[in-house]
């Protein structure tokens, strides 16, 4: 009996300690990242422009095709689904409202974020993880270069800039997809559809979507680099951490989405 009790208490204790250790490491990482991104560059008058641009190309520019293709199809699907409901009421023109609002408020940001966590978040984890495994991070520290400043800051800046930009692409292409489907299959007048969309969309729908996109970008970066820095040994662990980064950043995206949706529901 005693040994069972010991096992249970021991396990609980170890798990609690492990949890708080992780939490401490994570909060230190967030703290350092914030300092090296928003404070240190202004003190030292040193901005990582070149590196940030190269990250912008990697996480942003190179993602444009996939973001466009997926959101185009999403627009098509959404329009059809909306039509399936609305045709019973003979209110086909409201397809425009449904597509426009759900893409800008919800699906544009979230699809972009899920693509980014699969493409960029995993790449962050893999890059930093393999650098950790090859002692390259130690080498940076040994040269007096802060790894957060050198590795994380350009990625974070790129994500903060490019996530909203990609989301705008996703919004536009998604609405285009909806328009094309409505004009062809549903035989709605193009002018009428576009007018309806413009009337339906409020600036705040788009803006709340973009705010979400920034938050998703930050969380994808933090999760990816956190998993990368956790690597201690070989290539196998790099693979494991990369997978973990995708899974946990998608989870974080959904949590954040819930939070913001509730927040905006009551605010707007």
């Amino acid at each position: 009996m005693g040994s069972y009790g010991q096992t249970i208490f021991g396990l609980t204790g170890r798990m609690t300690i492990a949890f708080f250790t992780e939490l401490r490491i994570l909060s230190r990482l967030i703290n350092n990242t914030a300092y090296w991104t928003f404070v240190a560059p202004f003190i030292q008058k040193r901005f990582r422009v070149k590196q940030s641009i190269s990250e912008i190309v990697k996480v942003g520019y190179n993602s444009i095709p996939i973001v466009c293709v997926i959101s185009f199809f999403l627009g098509l699907i959404l329009a059809l689904q909306a039509a399936y409901q609305l045709r019973r009421f003979g209110a086909m023109i409201y397809v425009a409202n449904l597509v426009g609002v759900s893409i800008t408020r919800e699906l544009g940001p979230i699809i972009t974020a899920i693509i980014a966590s699969g493409r960029s978040g995993s790449a962050f984890a893999a890059e930093i993880g393999s650098m950790k495994a090859a002692e390259e991070v130690d080498a940076l520290i040994g040269m007096g270069i802060n790894p957060v400043s050198y590795l994380v800051v350009p990625k974070l800046i790129a994500m903060i800039i490019m996530m909203p930009a990609l989301t705008i692409f996703a919004d536009c292409v998604g609405i285009l997809g909806g328009t094309i489907l409505s004009v062809t299959l549903l035989e709605i007048q193009p002018n009428a559809y576009l007018n309806q969309t413009i009337n339906a969309l409020l600036v705040r729908d788009v803006v709340t979507g973009l705010i979400k996109a920034v938050a998703f970008g930050i969380s994808i970066t933090i999760v990816g680099v956190y998993q990368g820095f956790k690597v201690t040994a070989g290539a196998e662990e790099v693979g494991m951490r990369t997978t973990a980064s995708v899974v946990s950043s998608i989870f974080m995206i959904i949590l954040l989405d819930l939070f913001f949706t509730v927040l905006f529901y009551f605010l707007t």
């Binding site: 650098m131 080498a139 040994g142």
Partner: protein, 262 residues
């Protein structure tokens, strides 16, 4: 003799495993100190403590009379700018060329213009016999060439203190002699304080002014090269005469070892 580094009562653990045990030793300024010891005795670990990469469980490390074990990351970075280190695995950044690797400390810590940096990089690469390889990536180099590129990077900022972890392991005797020669020149021309971990006896006799020997994480010997040669300690004699450790295990113990009971 003035000391650049004073280590006292240094204890350190990896998890529960005690790697370094009560190390007290000094590294003299302007001299070449060689650290000797069997594989796995904690030499690389000691070196990582000297740049603040690992924190000891106990003890102090004074570099230029300042205790680095008490420093925060910013103070450490100031110290690290005056230190060049070659890791045992060279630890070049695989995503950039050799030239960019050597240029990295210069770009990060100075505001020199790109042309000046280029010239300095070529000088350092030439010093280690790698001119013409600027645009190679680490993956395109042999093990010995990586080591030499690592040496060039360690020297990029003309540091006061240089730490080399097995600079000539995996090099042919001629290139290895070239590295020894380079170390001698750095000492005599630039008055650098150089600490070298090595297993190569010829190179020990060539470059060492001062020798530190560790065994299983404990201090075994610290003194000048002549004192080392004159020492009669059996472990030191075994090392110098390249004899295997004759304290063989008894047949019963051996059986326990292969049966996995120890």
């Amino acid at each position: 003799m003035e000391n650049a580094i004073n280590i006292s009562h240094l204890d350190t653990h990896y998890g529960n495993y005690k790697v370094l045990k009560d190390i007290t030793v000094s590294i003299p300024r302007g001299k070449t100190t060689v650290i000797l010891g069997g594989s796995g005795c904690g030499k690389s670990t000691l070196l990582k403590h000297l740049i603040g990469l690992l924190r000891p469980t106990n003890g102090t490390i004074l570099i230029n009379d300042k205790d680095i074990t008490l420093m925060n990351e910013f103070q450490l970075n100031d110290i690290r700018r005056h230190i060049g280190i070659l890791f045992q695995g060279a630890a070049l950044l695989n995503s950039m060329t050799i030239a960019d690797n050597v240029a990295l400390p210069l770009k990060e810590h100075t505001r020199l213009n790109p042309e000046t940096i280029n010239i300095m990089v070529r000088m350092k690469l030439d010093l280690v016999g790698l001119s013409g390889f600027d645009h190679f990536f680490p993956a395109q180099l042999s093990g010995g060439m990586k080591k030499r590129a690592g040496i060039a990077r360690a020297m990029a900022l003309d540091p006061e203190l240089l730490f080399f972890d097995e600079p000539s392991a995996g090099l042919d005797p001629v290139t290895a002699a070239g590295i020894d020669d380079l170390i001698l020149r750095l000492k005599s021309v630039f008055k650098m304080t150089i600490t070298v971990i090595t297993h190569e006896l010829p190179s020990v006799f060539m470059i060492a002014d001062y020798v530190i020997m560790l065994e299983k994480g404990e201090m075994l010997f610290a003194g000048t090269l002549d004192e080392l040669k004159a020492s009669s300690h059996p472990a030191i004699r075994r090392f110098l005469e390249r004899k295997p450790d004759t304290a063989a295990v008894s047949p019963d113990d051996y059986f326990d070892i292969i049966a996995g009971r120890i």
